[in-house]
Structure formats: structure tokens, C-alpha cells
Amino acid sequence: MQTASHVPSQSSSPCADDEALVVIDSIDFAHGFGAHQVYRGLSMRIPKGKITAVMGPSGIGKTTLLRLIGAQLRPQQGKITFAGVDIHALGRTELYDVRKRMSMLFQSGALFTDMTVYDNVAFPLREHTELPESMIDTIVKLKLEAVGLRGARHLMPAELSGGMARRAALARAIALDPELVMYDEPFAGQDPISMGVIVKLIKELNQSLGVTSIVVTHDVAEVMTIADYVYIIANKTVVGHGTPAELKRSSNPLIHQFLHGEADGPVPFHYAAPSLADDLLGAQHAR
């Protein structure tokens, strides 16, 4: 089994701490009082104004990582800082204030089902600003224009396709012009056209607004075209990181397996189990 220490690029980092918007420092995290260890000694630097991709096999805890950065979950060891602030040391009020500077695009979109697309996008503006409705109206229309849904603002979330819901959620996520946008599996379940649109939107938002982006995904081809830096997670920690070009050149078998979608390798195809023969014979004896 490949471990982090075998990965050549492990010691390097995309930026210094003061150039990073998010610094994850040797965190340990487990669900259920330690019953299921998700991360052990995981460290990352998310550079300001760049698109950082976090990739890894399904079930490795990529969404958990975003919830840790957003302080919805708390690591048992280590710390995570956002803009120099230890996010898990904050009180409830301060934490909610810091969260206004970040946003997250959920896999499901997580639009409020009892509001129109327009009201969904206006929601954070109405909650956190004292802007007059006329100005909120202008901002909402501009955000919806950016994702191509200005004409669909009167629709309810149930009337949107999966791709449209994801784009509407993206418009809501950028309504307050956050410093950090976290994308949770933005390409999952999308048709090629929707996928292309979302890839383009993430890139454009990054370039035009300078938004720092973390894209959590296992869609290798799409994310490698837009990411400035890539982390690959497996075996509870970072097993490799670098620019897309560096990773493509990597001879590390785990990185190679992941980037080329090979069924078996350092990440086993089979879930841990006794041999098939033992299992079948054992079953016969038990019967």
C-alpha cells in the first residue's frame, strides 16, 4: 500500500503560508468517536486566487474536507486557518461572520425549495446586507446573467434540470462575492454540455473576480483543464500534489492509477475481505 512518505512531491507546497487563504495543518479526523478514521496527519495549502482541485477515490472523505474547512465539522487533532484565523477556535458569532466570506456549492445544489430561483439568489443579500430591494434586484439579475439563468429567475427549484439547479446554486454562492468558493462534486451527474458550462463558469469566476476556489471531484479530465494545483487524497492523507502537468508526469503508481482510471492498483478494487474460497467454504460450513 502506497503511503504519503513514498510520494516525491509530498514535501513541496504550492505556496507559503502567508500566500495561502486556507492552511490545513496535520489534521486527524474520525467519525463516530474514532470508529471510522477519515484523515490522519493531512496537510494542505490552498493558494489565494487560484483554483485548487482535491481529487481522490469515492468515499475517501472529500466532502468531509470541505465541511472541516467550513467548520461544520471539527478535527480531533491539528488546525485549519482561513485568512490566518484558526476557524475552529472561533465562537459561534465570529464563525458565522467568517462564513460570510466563504461559500459552498453543494453537490445537490441545496436550493431552498420553497423559494424561486430569484429569491434563492437574493437570500444571502437580504440576510447579510441592508441594501435596498432595487439594488438587490440589480445584483441578483447580474449574478443570474453570469450563470445564464436570468430568464429562469421566476422558476421554482423543482422546475429546474440538475445542471440548471447547480448553476442557480452557483449564482447564490457568489451573491456576496466571497473570497473562497468550495465546489463539492460540481460535475457529478451532469451531461457533457452542463459539465462544459460549469467548467467554464468556475474558470471565469476565478479569472474575473479573483475568487479562490477549491474543487472537490473525481472527474479527472474536467478538473485538470482548469486547476492551478491538484491534491490527491487516498489512504487518509495526501498521497500526491502538484500542478496538473507535474502530476501527469508522476511515476507514482497510486497517482498513475487514479489519473488513468485503472481498476486495480495501490487502491484495491476489492473491499477488504477474506479470500473467496474461504468465504464460500465458510458459508457452506455455517449452513
Binding site: 467550513g70 461544520q72 459561534r92 460570510k100 459552498m104 453543494f106 431552498f112
Partner: protein
């Protein structure tokens, strides 16, 4: 034997942890600086959802229960020549017991299950998480207005239930069975006391409102975010809240009238 002790320990730990989580949820939702400008519209919206939309079931149930009380009460009292006591019998039964208790049971089934399912679905579709990540506290935005709406609505619904029930008793006793109308109302007025009967009924209602709404919200907020999890939480709300209401009713009755 050891397994049984371990299982008992697990159940105890889960129960204590669950009670602690429910208490924390409520405290975090209710304690804090109020923002009237934002809270008022949300409260009105929820008062409509849990209060106004429960009116039909409350009015219809109250009417039929009052009519049954009138009919049964008359059949018993007439044997003793005491049918003129029908008014206070119907009124006291409703104001002291049936109004608060039946309203709470109906409220748990109609509004409580709806609150649990709604919040459970919001959790399953990550709407609560997205509120958190937007810097909006879901406990203040989602839980608090629903809690206050349930707390204010149920006593009002119980009063409506009792009033309609008394009218149902009047229809059967006076209009159908021929009890003297003057006696029906005057004996009722003479025997029903403001503090002992009406206020105690309202206090019961407030306690039931607090408990039923709290249980419904906590079950939704802590449910497993799957279809089975939401279904179990909804059922659990109705069962737990109903049993809590009936148990608390005995305790409150013993304290107030015992």
C-alpha cells in the same frame, strides 16, 4: 449477561446524549439577540402553517367531542334528575382536560409530524448545511420561528377547541334533548372558575405546546437524512409527543386538582 449490561449502558448513554442534544438545540435556537424585523415575518408565516392550517381539524374535532359529551352527559345526568348540570359538566371536561389534551394530540399528529418531515427533508437536501455555510444560523432561522409558532398557536387552538366543544354540547343538550337553555348557561357560569379551570387549562396547553413542538423540531433536526430516517422520525414524533402529553397531563392534573 455482560452483553445485556453493555446494551443497557449504550441505551442509557444514547438517551442522555439525545436529551442533551435536544436541550442544546433549543437553547441555541432561543437564546440570543432577537431581530424583530427578520423574525416577525418568519413567525407569522409559521403561525399560519402550524396554527391556521390546523384550525379545521381542531374545530371539527371540538364540535364532535362536545356533541358526544352532551349526549353521554345527558344520558347519565337525567337518571339523577340533574340534567341542568350538563353545562358545567361539558365546560369543565373541555376546559380542564379534553381541550388541552386532545388539541395537543391532534397538534402532534397534524403540525408536529409536518414540522419533523419538513426539517428532516431540509436536512436531507442539505438546505440546513447551506444555511450554515452562508453564515445564517439554521437554529435561529428555521427552528426558532417554528418553535414560537407552535408555542403560541396551541393554547389558542385549545381555547378554540373548548369553545366549539361547548357549542357542540349546547346543540345536543339544549337544542336536541331539551335541557333548559337558561339553566345550561347559568349553571355553567356559576361553576366554571377563571383561575381554577380556565387558567389551569391554558397552563396545561402551554406545557404541552412547549413539549410537542420541541419534540417535533428535535426529531426532524436530528433525524438520519434518508427517506427511512425521515419516516421513522415522523412516526417517533407522533408517538413520543402523544405519550409525553398523556404522562404530563396526569402530573399536571395531580398538581392542579389533586
Amino acid at each position: 449477561m455482560l452483553d445485556r449490561i453493555a446494551a443497557l449502558g449504550r441505551v442509557t448513554l444514547d438517551t442522555v446524549a439525545g436529551a442533551g442534544a435536544a436541550l442544546l438545540m433549543l437553547l441555541k435556537a432561543l437564546i440570543g439577540k432577537p431581530n424583530v424585523r427578520k423574525s416577525w415575518p418568519l413567525l407569522m408565516q409559521q403561525m399560519y402553517a402550524v396554527g391556521v392550517l390546523s384550525l379545521i381539524i381542531i374545530v371539527v374535532s371540538g364540535l364532535f367531542i362536545g356533541m358526544v359529551l352532551g349526549l353521554q352527559g345527558y344520558n347519565i345526568l337525567v337518571d339523577f334528575g340533574a340534567e341542568q348540570s350538563l353545562g358545567p359538566m361539558v365546560a369543565l371536561s373541555l376546559l380542564r382536560e379534553l381541550g388541552p389534551v386532545v388539541t395537543a394530540l391532534l397538534f402532534a399528529g397534524r403540525a408536529g409530524s409536518s414540522l419533523t418531515a419538513e426539517i428532516g427533508l431540509m436536512k436531507a437536501t442539505e438546505q440546513l448545511s447551506s444555511l450554515e455555510m452562508m453564515g445564517v444560523d439554521p437554529l435561529r432561522r428555521v427552528i426558532a420561528p417554528r418553535f414560537w409558532a407552535g408555542f403560541y398557536s396551541m393554547p389558542l387552538l385549545a381555547l378554540v377547541f373548548s369553545a366549539v366543544g361547548i357549542f357542540g354540547g349546547y346543540l345536543v343538550g339544549v337544542r336536541w334533548l331539551g335541557v333548559d337553555e337558561g339553566a345550561f348557561w347559568s349553571v355553567m357560569q356559576a361553576n366554571v372558575e377563571w383561575g381554577q379551570d380556565i387558567v389551569n387549562g391554558i397552563i396545561k396547553s402551554l406545557v404541552f405546546a412547549f413539549v410537542v413542538t420541541w419534540i417535533a423540531l428535535h426529531k426532524g433536526y436530528s433525524c438520519t437524512p434518508t427517506s427511512v430516517g425521515i419516516s421513522r422520525a415522523t412516526t417517533s414524533t407522533v408517538v413520543t409527543a402523544s405519550l409525553a402529553v398523556l404522562g404530563l397531563d396526569f402530573v399536571l392534573t395531580a398538581l392542579m386538582f389533586g
